[in-house]
């Protein structure tokens, strides 16, 4: 019994939240883009380049805020390239995304090697060059209280600022998309751009706006990876998180609150994969870690196949908009 409950102990859940944060930010980034009809499989690349530039600039200036700015700027730059390719030049959005992922994978190592000469990584970040955990008031005092103490100190409190930003982004995204005029138009442009165009609203403008928001959120995700979750950039540090975020987006059927749930689930799977001993103790047999690694992808395929509910993407997704002449 206790062995089983250990699977949901405070340290495991705390790790889940920390690992879910970059997924959530990237997932919401994809949500904005795809709701506006722009497929984005370049989430991975944008996160990666943001991770590098935020770590590099944080290290050089000693200020994590400048690093964050640089990371967002780098990610937005890739967003603009994606926008150029898929909106202005009406190219294939998927191919552009693939190219962006490779561009980021190559450029980060190339620049890291040229700047720091440490085999494609940045030096360790310390102090003000990182987003450090925020201690909640009286966390130490309440610590001895069973359950509530540790939950307050390290599950609710004790995270880096960007964790709270990510969670706050969920209601914000919901509000923007479903309660504002901009959000209505953004969703309309992903379903039926011709109708939006007829109403005299710029399809190109809306789609660029969505792609830029996507860039900013991916920038936050990357900066979180390199300056909060870990202390510095290492080669390929996103490790497929962009694709897991994409999977979470489908799992969530392109909805913000579901996205939070999906990312927490996938974060939990990643956290539990770090503690195979707990699994063994709980179930009495060895659970393969590789199965846990593959589980987000398998779940997504199952969802996509429509065996558990149906995931219907925005109707105009992936199609460049050509104005009739």
């Amino acid at each position: 019994m206790w062995d089983f409950l250990n699977l949901f102990s405070v340290p495991v859940l705390e790790t889940s939240i920390r690992l879910a944060t970059p997924l959530l930010l990237a997932c919401l980034a994809g949500l904005f883009s795809e709701r506006a009809g722009i497929f984005d499989i370049g989430l991975e690349g944008k996160m990666l380049i943001a991770a590098f530039f935020s770590a590099a600039i944080s290290f050089n200036t000693g200020s994590v805020w400048l690093g964050l700015g640089a990371g967002i700027l780098a990610s937005v730059t890739l967003s603009i390239i994606h926008g150029l390719a898929s909106i202005t030049f009406r190219g294939n959005q998927l191919i552009s995304g693939v190219a962006i992922n490779f561009l980021a994978a190559g450029m980060t190592v190339l620049i890291a090697q040229s700047w720091f000469k440490q085999g494609g990584r940045t030096p360790q970040l310390e102090g003000a060059a990182r987003f450090n955990p925020i201690e909640f008031p009286f966390a130490e005092t309440f610590m001895p209280v069973p359950v509530a103490g540790p939950v307050y100190a390290s599950l609710i409190g004790g995270h880096a600022l960007l964790v709270y930003v990510a969670i706050a982004m969920v209601p914000l995204t919901w509000w923007v998309l479903f309660r504002t005029r901009f959000g209505l138009r953004l969703r309309a442009v992903g379903e039926n751009p011709a109708a939006v165009d007829t109403a005299g609203v710029s399809v190109v403008g809306l789609r660029y706006a969505a792609v830029l928001i996507c860039g900013v959120l991916c920038g936050l995700a990357g900066a979180y990876l390199a300056t909060a979750l870990q202390a510095g950039f290492v080669k390929d540090m996103t490790a497929g998180r962009g694709y897991i975020a994409l999977a979470a987006l489908i799992f969530a059927k392109w909805r913000p609150w579901y996205a939070l749930a999906a990312c927490l689930l996938f974060g939990y799977l990643q956290a539990i994969a770090l503690r195979p001993d707990l699994l063994t103790a709980a179930f009495g047999f060895k659970v393969q870690i590789q199965l846990l690694d593959a589980l987000p992808y398998i779940l997504t395929v199952v969802i996509l196949a429509g065996f558990v509910g149906k995931a219907i993407p925005p109707r105009a997704g992936g199609a460049p908009y050509v104005k009739e002449r």
Partner: protein, 365 residues
């Protein structure tokens, strides 16, 4: 009437893309404080300046021909098979199982069976996303991406567990039997005193890949099935009206695509490593995308683009060895090629169309 003549579409557009990618790469090299001209010289010397260099260039090219053809066949049916990486991993598994568990007297017998093994495993891996696309409407791009990760996890599981010989440390199978070793170019072409292609991994699978080029050309442009695939790719509604079953085309083209990607394993697993190592595909499945885009999904184009990428790979390895330019430069070049030939195609095409229109008007006047 086409605005751009056929030759310009087939040669000029990719060439301009390539030049743009090369110029940007040179700028990148400059930006990291290295000399692009010296780098280019080193790459040419290292990749095609000796039979040894050619041996590596053609070895890499063989991988890229298979994965490039795989992406091309799917492109003809207007499907984007991004899962070449995972399919090639499964192909490797097929080759490994065949070579480990069947005692072959000679490589000439082992090769065809290994091809069947590789193709079968990879085709099954491609058939699942194809089925989900055809019957359940799941987007093939997303499912094939997911299948790449699932394949990686599966191979990790097998190579760390079941397939690893007891006592071994690294995640890999045992060495294949000597009778399954494919002859390398060194074995094939060294008659005289001095051995050529010494130590290079290019092997007889290169010729298999050339045959695959011919076979794909024949399939796409000379058979009824190829016509149906192209018709479906041009217009799904027209194809349906002509009595072509979308399900059949999606399934068959993806199975062929997957099988081609899987066949890469006879080169890297059977020909080079002679055992299945974790992570042996090394991104070749993704390079197939760049190769297919540059080669305009035509086997001849794929062959040339694959040799170009083989050159870049071997040249890049030389660069990493002798200069401070990391191997990742190749990934940047690859990204630029995919960007320009794939996504920013219209950026090059639109001005070209204008120029050709102007020339045509002048000619008429």
């Amino acid at each position: 009437m086409d605005v751009i003549p056929k030759w310009a579409d087939a040669v000029l557009v990719p060439l301009i893309s390539l030049i743009l990618a090369a110029v940007l790469s040179a700028l990148v090299i400059l930006a990291i404080g290295e000399d692009p001209v010296a780098a280019a010289k080193l790459m040419v010397e290292g990749a095609i300046g000796s039979t040894y260099g050619w041996g590596y260039t053609l070895y890499y090219a063989t991988n890229f021909i298979f994965t490039g053809l795989a992406v091309s066949v799917a492109f003809h049916a207007r499907m984007f098979n991004i899962g070449g990486e995972g399919q090639a991993m499964l192909g490797g598994l097929g080759v490994a199982l065949v070579c480990l568990y069947i005692p072959f007297p000679h490589w000439a017998l082992a090769l065809p069976v290994a091809i069947i093994g590789a193709a079968a495993f990879a085709a099954i891996w491609a058939a699942i996303p194809a089925y989900l696309q055809a019957k359940r409407g799941s987007h093939i791009v997303i499912t094939t991406i997911m299948f790449n990760f699932i394949a990686a996890a599966l191979l990790n599981y097998l190579l760390v567990g079941m397939l690893k010989p007891s006592g071994a440390m690294d995640p890999a199978t045992a060495k294949f039997a000597a009778t399954t070793h494919l002859p390398t170019f060194q074995d094939l072409f060294s008659w005289g005193e001095k051995p050529v292609f010494r130590g290079a991994p290019a092997n007889v699978s290169f010729f298999v890949s050339l045959l695959a080029c011919v076979a794909v050309w024949f399939l796409i442009w000379r058979t009824r099935l190829g016509f149906e695939i192209r018709a479906y790719g041009e217009s799904e509604s027209a194809a349906k009206y002509a009595g072509i079953s979308p399900t059949k085309i999606i399934m068959i083209s993806m199975i062929i695509s997957g099988a081609l990607a899987g066949c890469m394993a006879i080169n890297n697993v059977m020909g080079e490593a002679e055992r299945l190592v974790l992570g042996s595909v090394e991104g070749a499945g993704f390079i197939g995308i760049a190769v297919a885009l540059m080669g305009r999904s035509h086997p001849l184009g794929v062959l040339l683009a694959a040799i170009l990428f083989g050159f870049l790979y071997q040249g890049g390895a030389e660069l990493a060895l002798w200069t401070n330019i990391p191997r990742e430069l190749i990934i940047v070049i690859q990204a630029l090629v995919i960007m320009f030939t794939g996504a920013l195609d219209n950026m090059i095409r639109m001005p070209l169309e204008k120029i050709f229109l102007m020339m045509r008007k002048e000619g008429a006047a």
